[in-house]
């Protein structure tokens, strides 16, 4: 293991999933793979949280799901962002940015 792994902050998993799904239809395994790859192995999503989160988002109508064939021809459930989900992602992103910059400000000022 190259780097220390961090637990995800409560509530950020949903935003990350939405962001990744926004790139195009993708299945659960693909999402966990991408989070790992993009975060350069810092963030690792437990499958135990990933799937409940996916279903929760689907139930809220932010994600839409459809069954299709994967690259290797296996049946997989592909998730896609809905219009409602896109809005939600925008608001969560801007919230996150505000929060992050606020935290950063505090950290800098307090130094």
């Amino acid at each position: 293991m190259p780097t220390e792994k961090s637990d995800l902050l409560q509530g950020t998993l949903d935003m990350l999933i939405l962001k990744i799904v926004a790139l195009g239809p993708v299945h659960g395994y693909g999402i966990s793979l991408r989070i790992r790859q993009i975060s350069k192995e810092v963030l690792q999503v437990q499958q135990g949280s990933l799937y409940p989160a996916l279903h929760r988002l689907e139930k809220r109508g932010w994600l839409e799901a459809e069954w299709g064939a994967s690259d290797k021809g296996r049946q997989a459930k592909f998730y896609e962002l809905s219009a409602k989900g896109r809005k939600q992602l925008e608001s969560e992103e801007s919230n996150w940015n505000r929060l992050a910059s606020a935290v950063a400000n505090i950290l800098q000022t307090a130094q």
């Binding site: 299945h27 659960g28 799937y51 279903h55 139930k59 109508g61 049946q75 459930k77």
Partner: protein
């Protein structure tokens, strides 16, 4: 995704979830193999990495689980807490609802049983009452000649079978004293039509249904229990019916109450009796069972064809007859339908009043709970949750109320039976699952009607926030919505009161009406007889004379008479009379009600003779006395004594001499104006004849003496149905009394509810304005002014409510129109009485809070500030 799928609850099936997870595992395994692991190891590591599948499958399932149940339990718990915390409020609401829902369910149970449920026979909607009509008579006999019944049964193609019966009260004398029993003679096919088989024993055999075959009798369940203590070995025992030993062949099931609930015995009447052959002897009541799938209209058309054919075959007797077919249920229910719906309407109004009342109570309650509600808002409770909680509280109250109300509904049968024994099917009323469901439905409706508005208003965020802050400085107590509710209650109560008042008035009018006869001190009773005795008129005459003479000789008896049909009790025997002296075609036909009486009838009933003389009980040509209505309607002052009339339909009357004119008497019901009537002197008692005895003292004190006297001369007969004549009037009016008493009760309840509502709202208002009142008193306002102000506030709403109530009453007066006697729906004394009553009661209800307002101590109020 199709649009409609989004309407359905989204739910991941386990199979889909499994394949989604399997895909993930497969990919992980592939990844591991790519990293150089052997396939088995790769799989094992993947599973390890993936973690406990079952655990998070459960978590995924949780996502879809709606938490209604949990939320309801929490709400219920808090609702119970709420009820415990405010017992007075809760008890008020619960009792109000128990009364309103209970009364509603009680009336509904009567409607359900009497009007909605089928009669208690298999496929009862196939059962039809079949009558013969003679268009010559406006209200003819509906009875049918046995021979015609057989013709109908043979020639029709729409009925499975037609059967007939007639009933008489006879004597059963195996016991120490003769007992009166009601026997129905039933024609063949009786059991085929009813589709009922004896609970014990067997049906009649073909032998027993033929002429001169062996005798047989089936007994009712009631009779079996009463006389034989439910002896299982009853079959084969004998009854002595009017002197004839008759073996019992079976017991009918308890639900079989036909022709009526008094029926004790059924005997077979063979087809082809000599006196049944005459086509003009009509004495069967006919019941038919339609073939499956046949409509009433088809049956009517079919029997009309059959009767037309008979008309050609027997022009003298059948040409003018037509056939009437009505579902048996309709003829059983008869006129009770209107009374019942009237009661249901009023009891539903009562329920609305109760709901309105509870809305007002809940509103003032939620005003007091503003603090609690705003705290919960600030803690982040969504409005939906709060509304759900408030509704749960109301529902719990409604549920408890309707549960208590079921006790009232359970008593419905007894209440209806004691108030109106004549109501059809009243013995079938009982509490069942349908009524419980109905009460439950009532409580849901009540919850929505009375809980929704307060819950929604009480949780308005802006309102709650502003009220939480401003409650200390609030001065105005204006809440138009609550006053509107009070007004609605008053209006509904006035509607009910107006209806009840009118019914009471017409009942009172009935009591005051000039009857034309004197019914006080008249004892009436019957003697068991059978129609077979009417074959020998000479013997019948001797028997009747002997009984009447014995009665007259009894000390304490002033006079005695007989009459077929009790005077003052609805009894139809209307026929057309033919005037032998001739009558021009242009003059109206002589249609008259016929009464068969003894000559002593006029003296006994004290019906005055206006002209001529009393009819004579001679063996020669019969004589007739007509009433004044007859003379006025058909002769208009022209001489008529000495003319001769003949009844076209009555069996044994020859041409009769009109010998006298009597005063008008309300023979056919106290609520019916006298109609043209012919009294035939017929000193012959027959089954159903009433013996009328004028006594010196209270009538019933003579009953035992008379019974003994009669037993001495007629040991084989039973005397029964002893009652003061007034009792029969009261029985005849029992449906009238039922609706009057119940509606009065509902109206009184409605008025009290409206007053509680008025009192509560005004008190609440006074509380809100205590500070204002205190300030005004401190500034020198007079206490009288304060009282006047609040009193007026209450009364003004009531007056508006009264006006609205009258509009409602006027709009619904059509409902009452046919049920009133002697008052118009807009009877001024009644309606002004209602206004006066409402205003007085409203003033009393307003006075208390108004006086309390004026007693506010200014110093106290100012200190509180």
């Amino acid at each position: 995704m199709s649009w409609w799928k989004s309407l359905l609850p989204k739910r991941a099936s386990d199979a889909q979830m499994n394949s989604e997870l399997r895909f993930h595992l497969d990919e992980l395994t592939d990844e591991n193999i790519a990293a150089g692991m052997p396939p088995d190891e790769a799989r094992r590591r993947a599973i390890l990495e993936f973690g406990g599948q079952e655990k998070f499958k459960e978590e995924v399932r949780d996502v879809y689980r709606v938490r209604i149940l949990d939320a309801s339990v929490v709400n219920l718990k808090s609702a119970f807490r709420f009820i415990r915390k405010s017992p007075t409020f809760s008890i008020t609401v619960i009792l109000t609802l128990a009364l309103a829902i209970g009364a509603n369910s009680a009336v509904f149970s009567a409607i359900d049983t009497i009007l909605l449920k089928p009669l208690p026979f298999p496929d009862a909607d196939q059962l039809m009452r079949v009558d013969q009509h003679n268009p010559k008579n406006p209200r003819p006999f509906h009875l049918v000649a046995p021979v015609r019944l057989e013709d109908w049964n043979r020639l029709n193609s729409t009925f499975q079978a037609l059967t007939g019966y007639y009933a008489e009260d006879i004597s059963e004398s195996t016991g120490p004293l003769p007992e009166k029993v009601t026997r129905a003679w039933v024609s063949p096919r009786f059991f085929q039509v009813w589709e009922v088989t004896p609970a014990l024993g067997r049906e009649f055999t073909a032998d027993e249904e033929t002429l001169n075959g062996p005798a047989a009798v089936l007994v009712s369940d009631r009779f079996w229990r009463r006389r034989f203590n439910a002896d299982p070995n009853i079959v084969g025992k004998n009854l002595r019916l009017d002197g004839h030993l008759t073996p019992i062949v079976g017991v009918m099931p308890p639900s079989f109450l036909f022709p009526n609930r008094e029926a004790d015995l059924w005997c077979p009447i063979p087809a082809g009796l000599s006196y049944g052959e005459a086509r003009e002897n009509n004495w069967f009541t006919v019941i038919g069972r339609l073939k499956p799938g046949v409509t009433v209209a088809q049956a009517r058309a079919n029997l009309a064809t059959v009767q037309a054919q008979l008309g050609r075959q027997f022009p003298k007797t059948d040409a003018e007859l037509s056939v009437g077919i009505e579902p048996l249920k309709e003829t059983t229910i008869a006129d009770s339908r209107r009374s019942l719906w009237l009661l249901f309407g009023s009891v539903t109004l009562l329920l609305f009043i109760a709901c309105t009342n509870i809305v007002a109570l809940l509103l003032s309650r939620s005003a007091q709970r503003q603090h609690e509600i705003s705290v919960r808002f600030s803690l982040g409770a969504p409005r939906g949750t709060l509304i759900a909680q408030l509704l749960t509280e109301t529902f719990l109250l409604a549920l408890i109320g309707s549960g208590l109300g079921l006790f009232l509904a359970a008593a419905a049968s007894d209440i209806f039976r004691s108030l109106a024994a004549q109501l059809p099917r009243v013995e079938e009323i009982h509490l069942d699952a349908r009524i419980v469901l109905y009460s439950l439905a009532c409580s849901v409706v009540v919850t929505l009607l009375s809980g929704l508005v307060p819950a929604v208003r009480g949780t308005r965020r802006s309102l709650s926030a502003s009220l939480a802050q401003s409650s200390r400085s609030q001065v105005s107590g204006r809440n138009p919505f609550q006053w509107l509710l009070v007004g609605v209650q008053v209006a509904l109560a006035v509607t009910l009161l107006a209806g009840a008042g009118l019914l009471l008035r017409s009942f009172q009018q009935l009591g005051r009406v000039a009857r034309g006869f004197d019914s006080s001190h008249i004892l009436s009773f019957q003697l068991s007889m059978n129609y077979g005795e009417t074959g020998d008129m000479k013997k019948l005459r001797q028997f009747t004379d002997r009984v009447l003479e014995t009665l007259r000789a009894t000390p304490g008896v002033e006079s005695a008479a007989i009459s077929v049909g009790a005077p003052g009790v609805p009894f139809k025997y209307e026929t057309e009379l033919k005037l032998l002296e001739g009558r021009s075609e242009s003059e109206p036909k002589l249609i008259a009600e016929n009464r068969l009486v003894s000559a002593s009838y006029f003296a006994t009933m004290r019906i005055p003779l206006l002209a001529g003389e009393v009819c004579r009980e001679t063996d020669g040509p019969p004589t007739v006395v007509v009433n004044r209505a007859f003379a006025d309607a058909y002769f208009r002052g022209q001489p008529m004594l000495g003319h001769h009339v003949q009844s076209i339909d009555m069996g044994y009357s020859g041409a009769a001499d009109i010998v006298g004119i009597s005063g008008d008497a309300r023979e056919s019901g106290l609520d019916h104006a006298p109609v043209p009537t012919a009294y035939w002197c017929a000193p012959f008692a027959e089954p159903g004849t009433y013996f009328l005895v004028r006594t010196h003292n209270a009538p019933m004190t003579m009953a035992e003496t008379i019974r003994h006297q009669l037993h001495d001369i007629e040991p084989m007969r039973s005397a029964y149905d002893f009652a003061p004549l007034e009792q029969h009037f009261s029985d005849a009016l029992s449906e009238n009394r039922l609706r009057t008493i119940l509606l009065t009760f509902f109206a009184a309840t409605a008025l009290s509810l409206a007053c509680i509502g008025l009192y509560g709202t005004l008190s609440y208002n006074v509380n809100l304005r205590r500070r204002e009142v205190g300030l005004r008193l401190a500034l020198g306002a007079l206490r009288g002014q304060i009282v006047k102000q609040f009193l007026w506030q209450g009364l003004a709403v009531c007056i508006l409510g009264c006006l609205a109530g009258f509009a409602l009453a006027a709009a619904s007066s059509r409902v009452l129109a046919g049920l009133l006697y002697g008052v118009s729906p807009s009877d001024v004394p009644t309606l002004s009485g209602v206004i006066l009553l409402v205003l007085v009661v409203a003033a009393a209800a307003s006075l208390l809070p108004a006086i309390r307002a004026s007693r506010v101590d200014p110093m106290q109020v100012l200190r509180d500030e």
